[in-house]
Symmetry: C2
Subunit: 340 residues, 2 copies
Amino acid sequence: MGKGAKSPNEFEIIARYFAPLAAREPGALGLLDDAAVLAISADRKLVITTDTLVEGIHFMGDDPPESLAGKLLAVNLSDLAAMGSEPFAYTLSLALPKAWSPQRLEDWLSGFCAGLRKAQEQPGVTLVGGDTVGTPGPLCLTATALGTAEPGRELLRSGALPGDVVYLSGTLGDAALGLRVLRNQLPGVDPTDGEALIRRYRMPEPRVALGLRLAGIAHGVADVSDGLVADLSHICSASGVLATIHTDWLPLSKATVDVLARDPTLLASVLAGGDDYELVFTAAPEASVDIGRISRDLALPLTAIGRIDAAEPGHRNQLVRVVDALGREVDVIDGGFRHF
Amino acid sequence: MGKGAKSPNEFEIIARYFAPLAAREPGALGLLDDAAVLAISADRKLVITTDTLVEGIHFMGDDPPESLAGKLLAVNLSDLAAMGSEPFAYTLSLALPKAWSPQRLEDWLSGFCAGLRKAQEQPGVTLVGGDTVGTPGPLCLTATALGTAEPGRELLRSGALPGDVVYLSGTLGDAALGLRVLRNQLPGVDPTDGEALIRRYRMPEPRVALGLRLAGIAHGVADVSDGLVADLSHICSASGVLATIHTDWLPLSKATVDVLARDPTLLASVLAGGDDYELVFTAAPEASVDIGRISRDLALPLTAIGRIDAAEPGHRNQLVRVVDALGREVDVIDGGFRHF
């Protein structure tokens, strides 16, 4: 590349450099899905994913270690949820700043491990290994989560079909707005709303139970980590289809509705911001009764937000169309999606 | 802890903070072994380990990316080798400096992936997943390696028995001296010797084939990553035994013999320096014929370097005694073993 050239984004890096190293293993899914699905015995598949959080990029230095632990585990378990996998174990790799005093190190470790203990409980996962090293740089946290899936029951990004309805779990955009509250970019926000949004940013809930229920029902599934438009684009790209979503169908929390009432332009953050860790999935229209039952059983809203269409030539650059209540196309800028 | 208190070392951190989070899973082995061994189907166990390398701590900024890739994979595969496990896959998490230019990023990724391609080949492992993020800090590389083992055939640190012979594969201390060459701490070293030592530091060979052959023969096994004395201490601690090793029995390369001839005090680095990634293991004296055969089959020296004795009260602080050719005890300072 020439001088002044743009750095390749994460997806270009994967395609160009890493996918060839995974070519021998079909279960690696070309490194394009939320996790790998490896056939290691006749009756179970192993599902594995890894995610790293870096201070100054994915979290702030003053984020409480308890919620960081919860978030690190949640982002990994969310990937397993998106594969319809039952999580059972995880490993940790922690690079801890050498500049920390012994007191700060012990305080941080106490808080972090208390957060892990809490976050382990409900999904029923256990720490099974790890590495702890010093770093001259910022805190850098990696977890690798392991789950199992019954052969043939795993959920992939690549199964979406024309005619499918697009569903989203929970509510959209709270995490992106929570981050703005933390950065003092939403002055005048109602304090109760602000706290609710921050909580959703700091303590995402991986939709493990939902993922397990979607086997046999959902066609294409991803978790919302990079942002709804980006993650739904991944489903469309893997499935060779297009999606249209309707802004007036989107499930929004009271806090997000309040914020958008004051500043409607923040809708772009809601659509493109990541970190919600909800599941976006497609299913046939006939599945609506089953999906309604799952929603009631889990006490989790599952909202139809759009539909899937067959891909047409010339649409490769815009896999997801966003339209408002009047059917007008909403412009979502591509630049805001990526962490890298 | 009070002001000026010492930071806990990696083993204290594991015992105090992380082991309780692993208590429910017996296969986590209390986070004290080289890897976890998880029962996930009737006929195979899953063996998993993770290791992180940080620029400025575990490697230098100008280390070639090809050899870094080899080293990252090797340190993880070495842990699997020490469990008698057959590796099959790995995941990567890379935190890449945001300060790098696009050109530098692409050059680094090209070199790193070429190194991975080479390092994957012989052990027959495949990349199956990963995460690539930017960091405001130094390069931070994590790999998680997966292997399988037949139930009952896994090698543990905890099996050493009084009367066992202690064996070491390959040669000892080359990596620690190689690091000294790179740091210009061995002025006047013969250039050929220097290159050989640097190669051993940069490109360790995980002893995967040896680990697979030791099932049913070796009693206590670890890889030499923290240094011979530290890693043999881990075996002794897990097994409740003591070890004595003889400096004049140690297998040394020509380059290391040359360096020690010029400066005999460097023996402490050879004994305590890490990064050799050889296997240290114990076996009954009767196993010597089998071990000789394995050594010939693999064209890899397997050298008896000492013996295991029953633990006596009062010996808890010194699990490994080192004696010279005249039977005099050699003092090995404990401070030099740990990366953290």
